[in-house]
């Protein structure tokens, strides 16, 4: 039998999906705000949306953080009109690198390392991923190294500030169950 148009398929969104969607929507708004903030050097941004990724990581687990982060990159790309431009791919490379870094920090003992550590590691991974892609593809020259210290300083500051904000937000409000449920 061939499928006809009368076949109705239902996609049931679990509460978990709703939480991810809510966080992703919040992250997209922050990414748009982020893009509006003037910056001294292209590529240096506060990365406010990463606060939401940290919230997702701490409250829903690493897989949810991956979802929120990738949905935010795609959604912000659509809204800002930068989809599939070099800037979009740089953000994607940075995002994937920071998610890898966040996955690494998940193994660290919670007693000693909090969201600030995760945020700092993610920030440095972000510039690392961006610079690798930029060096390999956009600007195949070692002159790009000249800007690396500026990027590192920006990562240090924004990673620290975003981590503290995420920590503050997590402190008071248990916005989700502490046990991460597996995503479908």
């Amino acid at each position: 039998m061939t499928a006809s148009t009368s076949d109705t398929r239902w996609l049931h969104a679990q509460p978990h999906d709703h939480r991810i969607a809510r966080l992703a929507a919040l992250a997209i708004v922050l990414a748009v705000v982020d893009a509006g903030i003037p910056s001294p050097l292209p590529g240096i941004k506060p990365g406010l949306a990463n606060i939401v990724t940290l919230l997702a990581l701490e409250s829903l687990g690493w897989r949810a953080a991956v979802w929120v982060s990738l949905l935010r990159i795609l959604g912000a790309g659509l809204l800002l009109g930068s989809l599939l431009t070099p800037g979009f791919f740089l953000g994607l490379a940075g995002g994937i690198a920071s998610l890898a870094g966040l996955g690494l920090t998940q193994g660290w003992p919670k007693r000693w390392f909090g969201p600030v550590s995760a945020s700092l590691v993610a920030a440095f991974c972000h510039i690392g991923g961006q610079l690798l892609l930029a060096r390999a593809w956009l600007i195949p020259s070692d002159n790009i190294l000249y800007f690396v210290p500026a990027f590192a300083l920006a990562a240090l500051l924004s990673g620290l500030v975003n981590g503290i904000i995420a920590d503050k937000l997590l402190e008071g409000s248990p916005c989700a169950p502490s046990t991460p449920s597996p995503s479908p």
Binding site: R111, L120, Y146, A155, L156, G159, L160, D167
Partner: protein, 122 residues
């Protein structure tokens, strides 16, 4: 629930600060070379910009030393010296770096906007 910044966080912050400082020192502290000075028998033969790719033959007592400039770097490409030390040094890119072919009495020295140290003159 927990203190805002945990002990390990300070460690990560310190690590990040050290990394940033090291990168700044490594990439900004030592100036990128702008030009190369070629010497033969103690005499300055030429001072050339590194922006211009070229091959420069320099005559010495043993024969011709070939200096290659390409992509903001310089090296001794060929040299008649028996041990080939200066050739094996490879590409030089930072101000203050020197390659000396003693038997043939030729040398190259990279110079930048500011000279970090002077290793040839006493």
């Amino acid at each position: 629930m927990s203190r805002l910044i945990r002990p390990g966080d300070w460690l990560v912050l310190l690590g990040g600060a050290v990394l940033t400082g090291w990168l700044a020192w490594q990439l900004w502290g030592q100036g990128q070379a702008r030009s190369v000075t070629i010497r033969a028998g103690g005499q300055r033969v030429a001072s050339l910009s590194l922006l211009h790719n070229r091959l420069v033959p320099v005559r010495g007592p043993l024969g011709v030393t070939v200096v290659e400039i390409a992509g903001g770097k310089a090296r001794i490409k060929q040299d008649p010296s028996p041990r080939q030390y200066c050739v094996h040094q490879g590409w030089l890119s930072r101000a203050g770096q020197v390659a000396i072919c003693l038997p043939n009495a030729t040398s190259i020295e990279l110079t930048g906007p500011d000279q970090p140290y002077d290793s040839l003159n006493f």
